[in-house]
């Protein structure tokens, strides 16, 4: 009777360990990474060549982190999430920088055109 009870308990633990190892994986917090990727996408990073490269790195990093987490590599997955997050942040910054560069160029052109239209001397860049 005791052997049967021990055997049953051991089988239960074994099943729980199996289920845990195969279906659940490591739980990681992807919020910061996904949020950073969303911000980058909304800033138009996908349309800026330089920024779109790092946005792609961020997406791939996020996928790698998910895979590592699924494999139970929680620490490595979290480390990979950091990479994805900084890639997304860089993509967003490059996108904004591109926009700012265009706006600055347009503003300078407006000044130059205003000077030309009014026959005022133009200054060099």
């Amino acid at each position: 009777m005791k052997n049967l009870r021990f055997t049953t308990i051991a089988a239960g633990f074994s099943l729980a360990a199996t289920i845990s190892a195969c279906g659940g994986g490591a739980v990681i917090n992807k919020e910061s990474s996904t949020s950073a990727i969303r911000v980058a996408e909304e800033s138009g990073a996908s349309t800026v060549p330089n920024a779109s490269l790092y946005l792609q790195f961020a997406r791939e990093g996020l996928e790698s982190a998910k895979k590592l987490a699924a494999d139970g590599e929680k620490e490595q997955a979290e480390s990979m999430l950091l990479r994805a997050q900084v890639d997304a942040e860089l993509a967003a910054a490059l996108s904004r920088s591109d926009t700012d560069q265009k706006e600055a160029t347009e503003a300078i052109d407006r000044v130059r055109k205003l000077r030309q239209d009014n026959q005022l001397p133009t200054r060099g860049n």
Binding site: S79, V86, E89, L90, A93, D100, A104, A107
Partner: protein, 320 residues
Amino acid sequence: MKTYPIIAIACAGLLMACASVPPAELVSARRSYAQASNGQANRLVPAEVHKAFTALSLAEESFKNDPDSYKTRDLAYVADRKAMLAEALAVTVNERAATVQADKDYQTVQTQIMKSTKDELAAAERSAVVQSDKLAAEQGARVDAEAKAADARTEAARVKDSTDAHARMVKATSDAEAFRVKGLADAEARRMAAQKVRDDETILRLEKGKKVVLTGVTFQTNKATLTGDSEPILSRAYNALVANPDAQIEISGHTDNVGDDAYNQSLSLERAQTVKNWLVRKGIASQRMKTVGKGENEPVGSNTTTEGRASNRRIEFYVE
């Protein structure tokens, strides 16, 4: 036994050599940080550069402790990206500053243009005022000149009218005087003519229904040509006609009976006509006189004597 320490040292050396080679992520991170810290990022976004430094320090520490670990590579990767992020943010700050400066320049230029335009407008307005004043002055001068010209024309017309009137008056006066003088002269002439007629009246008196013989009017033989002795009596006949302007005269020629009757008839008519012509030349109207040739048909003397035939050769006036 002696080979084991050597192998161990070699392995340790090899391990140390391998451990001293930094991963590519760390190399890249060092380079990126160096660029960020030496460039405009250190001035414009020092906090971001500091974050990159912190991340790089963590990566370096991890590299010391665990060179080949994924953790070292990931920390170096993060440090690399943070350094790049600092660079990108520096560019953003720089571009935004450029935009702000350009906007300020735009406003400055606009202000400059507005001021310039305002100055130009003010100058144009001043010029327009000056021009307007000048035009007004010219207009005033023109109006004055036109008024003066009109006055001058009026004065000239007045003077001309006055002159014309004066001339007309002078002419009228002159005409009146001439008329008066002429009237006086005519009156005197008439008076003298009347006097002369009166003087000659005893010689040639014209009475209606009576015949007057112009004694003394003679012609060359067998011709209708007057002799020089005929002029005085013809002149008296002329005066009589002038003194009696209403008198109508029949001038008749007469001959003696010498010669052919028809010839005498023709000759008497020619002689009557010669007398009429003489009077017409003196100014007596032709229509007051008609001529007729009587030939030898109405003798007043005897044709048998010289005196009788001389009296028969005559010119008579008959007052109708």
